[in-house]
Amino acid sequence: MKRKDSSQLRAFWNEFRRVKFGTVGLALFAVFVLIVLFEPLLMPYPDANDRWRDMTYWLDSPRNAKPVWVNWFTSKDYAVADTIEPTSVTESQVGSLRMVMMEFEYDFHYQRPPADLQLVTTLTGNASIQMELIRPDGASLNYQRATSSSGTRDIRVSVAQNLQDKVFRLASAYADPDVIASENPETIDAMATMFAAAEPNMLRATNPLEGTYICKLTVALTSADSRVDDAMLVIAGGVAGWMGTDASKRDIWSGLIAGTKWALLIGLVTSFVSVAIGVVYGVVAGYFGGWVDSMMNRIFEVFLSMPLLPILIVMGAVFKPSIWTMIIMMCLFFWVGPVKTVRSMALQIKENTYIEAAKALGASHGRIVFKHLLPQLVPYAFATMALSVPSAIVYEASISLIGLGDATVVTWGQILQDAYASGAVLQGTWWWVVPPGLAIALMGMTFAFIGFAMDTILNPKLRTR
């Protein structure tokens, strides 16, 4: 028995290989599987799966940053997002004070400034910090802050948000009096000014000043158990990551990678379960005929008469499903897909004399269904499965888009929903809208290639040469 199956599989494979787009589909499918397998390696934010909706996880990223490769297509490069570790750390004792001094160097060689420059660190116990930012031309600004608390807390100093007036003052030294008069610290683009060449028009920012920017951080630890940890300089770039970031600072690339496994899961499980049910249902109806068939046909037609998406929407709104219940709900309605064709195929196969021959030999219904009927339908079932994967994915995305998705997981549909709800379409944040849709389309195409290829093999009539 084994021998026979393997030889037929091989024959099928040999035919399949000849259909070029089928092979392309398989290759793409392999790529998707690899993405799922190597997910941790591919995701710059390894906790994206669990903490996608945890805003504190994404604080270090810029908001609405474009993808890094945008720089390849523009002459005025955006600053790339980066985190900079201190180049030197020195500790000294001044009386009862312990002083920790750190120096960060940021090489700025872009035409557009980063969205923000943040100093991030964790403080324990009483401490005060002093930060000095020195531009390549020597101009500098200072920031001081003393804190007293016994616990551990995160400190975050943002130039764009906290130091606007200091930047304004710095620029005022160079700027035209008229300009100073017409601008005010609230409205200037702090980052642009910070990274602008020192010239009269500096406040209206303009020519970038390239070079090394130095940030000197001095932490005075006042109590014995005080500590400073994890200090770094976060450059919130104008561009960040392979796919940019969204309005909640999340890395879209990580979201896409995290969504891949869900898309595959939803697509494969739904199509497999529903097609398996549908094929068995169709075969049983077609084989037994008579009142069994009529009854099964009635049930089938009831299901056929229900518009799928509206029901899923209402069920979603009423039952608030998790991803698994959503898959079950989809299976509940998806199985009707292959029934009609399978039933007519079963009716046709049933007419073959070998079925009658088996009956004449005394074969049981079970033997006829499982040995003679179902094996003939396996190729068709696989083709149908492949072709129903994309629709399952699109359905999940559609339900998510309306806002009924499972919030505990990251799916492409939900990324799109976030984008749509945050007005990404209106703002033209294309890197938020295009990639998830493309991912859905690409996966759809993958399975379409595979399914259509099998279809071509199964219907020689459609072959043209």
């Binding site: 026979k4 070998y354 009658e356 021959a357 088996a358 004449a360 030999l361 040995k371 003679h372």
Partner: protein, 347 residues
């Protein structure tokens, strides 16, 4: 005469027809009377032919004998035992004794099976044989029986790798696997090329003689029926109209329908090109839902008189020497027919 191996008494098979709502409401019941009361005996070791046009009920009769269909009425005895309403073990035993060869040898084998699987299937279904080795030996023996040699070469092939004749041999081998006593052969050679047709018939007859089998040979082709069968029955609209020794039925035909049928057959002899063939029959075959009153052949019978549709349907009776006919007026017609024969038109 000894106990017949198969005895059929007044067997009927009516199929219900889908009714419209009006028919359901008025209690009207239409039925296709595919087999409408047939009786015959088959002796052990003979080849019994069932001949007729499409739709005459010959295939349905075959299926009734196979118990692929349940009869509506009537009785059937196998080796003296009533097998009309059997089920379960008795049915399984019956299926081992009666086997079938189908018209299209290609369609009668699952294309995904190898010949070995095809041959093993009856054994697997009936749980015959201990080991697969034992079963394989039997399969090889069966293939040798039908002259499909060397057997090893064929066992691993799929049906599509065989020629039509070889397939029908393999199909015959399958029927032999369970050592049956009756084989129902439904048009076994009609889909096979002329050049190999005789070969298959020859092989079938050889197997029959060697193993002492009984055949029920179903066909529309009178010429092969004459060649292959010992006795034959001519069917029309679910009834046997004439039955007897093959040569006798064909050369001394009694029933007007058989006459028409035989007259219509073409023969490979010269000198007939420019002659219009007289076929003593009229009209088209009526639907089996609407069987005519009286003798069911009367609307098409060129000799029909008023009595034919007013009197009840004639039963099959012995016209001498076991030559049975279901026509009241066959003697009258015989005289008329001879007169007609001499006046055949010629250009």
């Amino acid at each position: 005469m000894s106990e017949p191996i198969l005895r059929v008494e007044n067997l009927k098979k009516w199929f219900p027809v889908k009714r419209s709502i009006r028919q359901v409401l008025s209690g009207e019941r239409t039925q296709v009377k595919a087999v409408d009361g047939i009786s015959f005996d088959v002796q052990k070791g003979e080849i019994f032919g069932l001949v007729g046009e499409s739709g005459c009920g010959k295939t349905t009769t075959g299926k009734l004998i196979m118990k692929l269909l349940d009869s509506t009425d009537g009785k059937m005895y196998m080796e003296g035992e009533d097998v009309t309403g059997i089920s379960g073990d008795a049915l399984a035993a019956h299926r081992r004794k009666v086997q079938m060869i189908f018209q299209d040898p290609y369609a009668s084998m699952n294309p995904r099976f190898k010949i070995l699987d095809v041959l093993m299937e009856p054994l697997v279904i009936h749980g015959v044989g201990e080991t697969s080795q034992e079963r394989e030996t039997w399969a090889i023996k069966a293939l040798e029986e039908v002259k499909l040699t060397p057997p090893d070469e064929f066992l691993s092939r799929h049906p599509h790798m065989l020629s039509g004749g070889q397939r029908q041999r393999a199909a015959t081998a399958r029927t032999l696997m369970l050592s049956p006593s009756i084989i129902v052969a439904d048009e076994p050679v009609s889909m096979i090329d002329l050049s190999t047709r005789a070969e298959i018939l020859h092989m079938m007859r050889q197997v029959q003689r060697e193993l002492g089998l009984t055949y029920i040979y179903i066909t529309h082709d009178l010429s092969t029926a004459r060649y292959f069968t010992d006795r034959l029955a001519v069917m029309y609209l679910g009834r046997i109209v004439e039955m007897g020794v093959a040569g006798e039925v064909i050369d001394n035909t009694l029933h007007p329908y058989s006459k028409a049928l035989i007259a219509a057959v073409c023969e490979p002899v010269s000198g007939r090109v420019n002659r219009i063939k007289e076929v003593p029959i009229k009209g088209e075959i009526p639907a089996a839902t609407n069987i005519p009153q009286g003798c069911r052949f009367h609307p098409r019978c060129v000799y029909a008189t008023q009595a034919c549709w007013e009197q009840p349907e004639p039963e099959l009776f012995d016209a001498g020497n076991g030559h049975m006919v279901a026509c009241r007026r066959y003697e009258e017609i015989l005289e008329k027919g001879d007169a007609a024969k001499t006046s055949e038109a010629e250009f």
